[in-house]
Amino acid sequence: MTFLTVENIHHTYFTKTSATTALSNISLTVEEGEFVSLLGPSGCGKTTLLSIISSLLKPTQGTVLLENKPVTTAKNQIGYMLQQDYLFPWKTIEENILIGLKLSKQLNQNTKAAALRLLNQIGLAGVEKQLPRQLSGGMRQRVALVRTLATEPKLLMLDEPFSALDYQTKLKLEDLVSQTLDEFGKTAILVTHDIGEAIAMSDRVFLLSPSPGRIYKTFTMPEELRNISPFEARNHAAFSSIFQTIWKELESLEREKE
């Protein structure tokens, strides 16, 4: 059974003066426990696709099935992590990570303890009573990860979650996220425009072409890269050749556009 099936998605944005097709004929499947990336230049509808998969946006056409059921019925099974942490500045860290449980009425002693344990695990013990502004950017994004994982979603959406961080923090967080997701056996979809990040973290990479967004090519990462951490993958011998291949494809996409 495929875990996630995206079938024939078309999406068009309407304004008074125009109708822009953002996505056209997108079909893909993701297996349970897999980590896939959507890679592409800006404006190719990556975030739109992510919003559609997480049922925040209704596509003009097409269906998204999670474990063979429409995603619209799968409330709280999908976690979403944004480009910035978007922690609520007036809530303490503890309140922030418990918000998902609170909203879905799952908050009890067990789930609360589990969320706090997760915070510990991710290396943020003792910040529970602090406010987000007292934490560094990397720490805040880690808190956002805990918040997303606290409701135990089956599928994780990562919308360029590392793009607002400095390079060193970004590399460290890539490793941490990858390791955490492996531990819990989560399925994840990452949106990024960073080729290296996509290669280092994913099992498969979907390359999207812009206007309208289509799946241009799919790359399956070799076994030796999948089984090591993102940081090690970046230093692996196989990394640069894949990087080159994808780079060339992206280049050809741009030439095509011209």
Binding site: K75, N76, L82, Y86, W90, G100
Partner: protein, 268 residues
């Protein structure tokens, strides 16, 4: 070695000291303005440079103040006006915020009501005074209504704008957890708008005083607004000035209380 260690502390001490001195100078100049203003008023009035019948003098106002405190009329008048103002102020802010919430809740309602809000905002609310008095009767309720109505529309507009300007990504976060619209409002929209609501409170303090005083001009037989209009009718301008000064003092106290509230909420 120890000298070096002490250096930043010493510099910090000097810095604190310089701040203190600056603060003292500011206070000094403020006191100077106060003293110069009132003493020149007194002097001008005594020397008949200005008409003492029209402009009174601080000493006369002071004597009248003592007299009015002794016979108890001032305290009761202040009590009346203060109660009306506080109620009008709270009612105006509360209703304005609730109205803003309704507009945020339904984009349809907000589009429909948009031109009416513009008209209501542009209209001078005090002109509604006579209608309020007829509708609610000449008493507390129509004066409180004046105090409220004068601030309600502007509160609605300002708070609604701030509701709309909350970063939509906060709502996205909540929606991924399946939050309802009410939950979105409670968890993100309202707390994110607290700073704006507080600053409209500050504006509304002033507005409610205007509404209540005008209301008292129109109907009341008690209150500071009544004291002003009575003083005007019997040509007792000392009474008018006394009322004005009392209003200034209490409006300032209310404003300071709102600022205190602001500090408390923003700190969280």
């Amino acid at each position: 070695m120890s000298e070096k260690k002490n250096k930043p502390e010493l510099l910090h001490k000097n810095y604190i000291q310089s701040l203190k001195i600056e603060k003292r100078w500011v206070g000094f100049y403020q006191a100077i303005i106060f003293i110069v203003f009132f003493s020149s008023w007194q002097l001008a009035s005594q020397k008949q440079w200005i008409d003492p019948l029209l402009f009174s003098s601080p000493s006369k106002i002071w004597n009248l103040l003592l007299e009015k405190i002794q016979d108890g009329t001032l305290v009761s008048n202040i009590g009346v006006t203060l109660t009306e103002t506080v109620f009008g102020f709270i009612l105006g802010t509360l209703l304005g915020t609730i109205l803003a919430a309704i507009l945020w809740w339904s984009p349809m309602i907000s589009r429909v009501l948009d031109p009416y809000l513009v008209i209501l905002n542009a209209m001078p609310k005090v002109a509604l005074g006579p209608i309020l008095i007829v509708a609610l009767g000449p008493g507390y309720s129509s004066i409180i209504a004046m105090g409220a109505i004068i601030s309600i529309i502007i509160t609605t507009i300002v708070v609604y704008t701030s509701f709309k300007e909350v970063d939509p990504n906060y709502l996205k976060v909540l929606q991924t957890f399946g939050a309802s619209r009410w939950q979105c409002f409670k968890e993100a929209i309202l707390p994110a708008s607290f700073p704006t609501i507080i600053s409209t409170l500050k504006v509304n303090v002033g507005l409610s005083w205007v509404g209540v005083i005008v209301g008292e001009f129109l109907v009341s037989s008690r209150g500071l607004g009544y004291m002003i209009i009575y003083g005007f009718q019997v040509f007792n301008f000392t009474l008018v000035f006394l009322s004005l000064l009392v209003i200034a003092v209490f409006a300032t106290i209310m404003y300071q209380l709102v600022e205190l509230l602001e500090k408390k909420i923003i700190k969280e």
